[in-house]
């Protein structure tokens, strides 16, 4: 499934993987801002960004085609609104928004491909994001795949009973509503169990990382280099 690929990538070993998540977050934000504030989409500059990102993927040991493919998630939305701009008589604008959204998505793929989401959430805490929100997001990510798998099981079960599918039929709605209701009930029960388990382990309102974050000289260098390169490409 989805998370397997992501976690597989973020558990690789490379110089970029070893950098502090805060440095990588700053680098990614600098790139996204530089790309996003660019007027139009000058071919040379965007080629430079693409080269930079390709080099980052290669040095992190991530499959180039794989990261590009994952960034294509944004294409349905981008293509629809790009097509609108094209029809309205601004083809250059359409190409610009398509390229911008694709490159920004690629930056985020590389960020999550080299940093696992829980560590990334921990890094956001250093940037003063409310802890309550981060804790909720943390639990959400932890149980996302558990609950999704449960939903998948229910779909398989319904299909094996001959009830599911896209065909319009009487009772299909009731079955789907029942499935969502059951999923709600199970999630509620799971939340209670999770809470009890957390209390039993001495949860005091904070998650503890097994290895604390350390921001070294290499991390500072990496962040500074990324910000400088992004800015230089933006100005040139």
């Amino acid at each position: 499934m989805h998370h397997l690929v992501l976690e597989e990538w973020s558990r690789k070993n490379s110089w970029i993987h070893a950098r502090d998540p805060r440095a990588k977050l700053v680098a990614a934000l600098a790139l996204v801002v530089a790309i996003g504030t660019c007027p139009g989409a000058p071919a040379l500059r965007f080629g430079g960004y693409a080269l930079l990102l390709g080099a980052a993927a290669a040095s992190a040991g991530l499959p180039l085609a794989g990261t590009l493919w994952r960034a294509c998630v944004i294409l349905p939305f981008a293509a629809v609104f790009g097509a609108m701009a094209w029809v309205a008589g601004h083809p250059e604008r359409a190409v610009a928004v398509l390229l911008k959204s694709f490159l920004s998505a690629w930056v985020m793929v590389l960020l999550t491909g080299t940093t696992s989401p829980p560590v990334l959430l921990r890094a956001m805490e250093s940037f003063r994001v409310p802890r309550f929100l981060l804790l909720v997001t943390h639990i959400l990510y932890r149980y996302l795949f558990v609950i999704s798998e449960q939903a998948q099981h229910m779909r398989f079960a319904a299909a094996s009973r001959g009830g599911a599918g896209r065909r319009l039929r009487r009772g299909g709605w009731q079955a789907a509503a029942g499935a969502v209701g059951t999923l709600f009930a199970r999630s509620h029960a799971r939340a209670e169990a999770v809470h009890r388990a957390m209390l039993a382990r001495g949860f005091r309102g904070d998650f503890v990382l097994l290895s604390p974050l350390r921001f070294g000289a290499a991390d500072g260098l990496f962040a500074a280099w990324a910000v400088a390169t992004a800015t230089a490409l933006r100005i040139l």
Partner: protein
Amino acid sequence: MHIPDGFLSVPVWAGLAAVSVPLVGVAARRAQREVQESSVPLLGVMGAFVFGAQMINFPLAPGTSGHLFGAALLACTLGPAAAAVVMTAILTVQAVVFQDGGVLALGANVFNMALAGAAAGYLPYWAWGRGSRPALAVAVGGFLSVIVSASLALAELRLSGLPMPGAVLPLAWGLFALNALAEALITFVVVESVDRLHPGWIRRMQTPRPAVTKWFLAASLVLAVVGVAVASAAPDGLERLAENLGIAHRARVLWETPLADYEARFLSGSWVRRAAAALAGIGITAAVLMATAKLLQRRRSV
């Protein structure tokens, strides 16, 4: 309607981020107070539930199916503040992990779906939830949450200067309305099903709202929906009307703050000024973020 990066202009995304950040902070504080101390796992797992529920298809028409959007259901089970927090967490995970929606556009997406979406989803339930069929009120909330989120996203795209052919707008709005209708139907059957399993999960409204409030609310809701429909169906007509009344001129004057207007005025200017405007936007966002964090910390320690 997850807006990716690259579509919104700097004033739009920076401005909406500056609005969303303190509001999410307030919602987080309220949610922490409202739901008991077991709230962290409950809200997190409920966010995961929304992801799971979106995998269950409801047959809509031959060949197409829809799924739950969830803002109204969350608002009537967890409360509006907690629903906003859960939706924000969902959008954050979607943006960072699944590239569904941009990172710079996250503030705008949070504003559209988590804040305005949850509020619109809760409003009818707040007013009519004490009636004999609360599920009906939640279903109306589902309709409103989708239509509000989608209309806001479309408005932000237009405000960012994304060119759109005029004929597309009524079509887009018709699609939103169909989507919203589907969400209303799905929300209705799901709320009935959840209520059957455990009557305590759908919150019961304690105090009845005065009839005047209800009528006022109903009238303003109808006016707002009709207004958006007319505005999207005939944007040129509306503009002409505004021009005649002199509103457009006044609105333009209001809009002409140095930051908001930078695209138009600095378009021919040097990159330094554009970059400065962008940096100022980010700076303001960061300042608001820091101030909110400070405020929250001070309150918590008291």
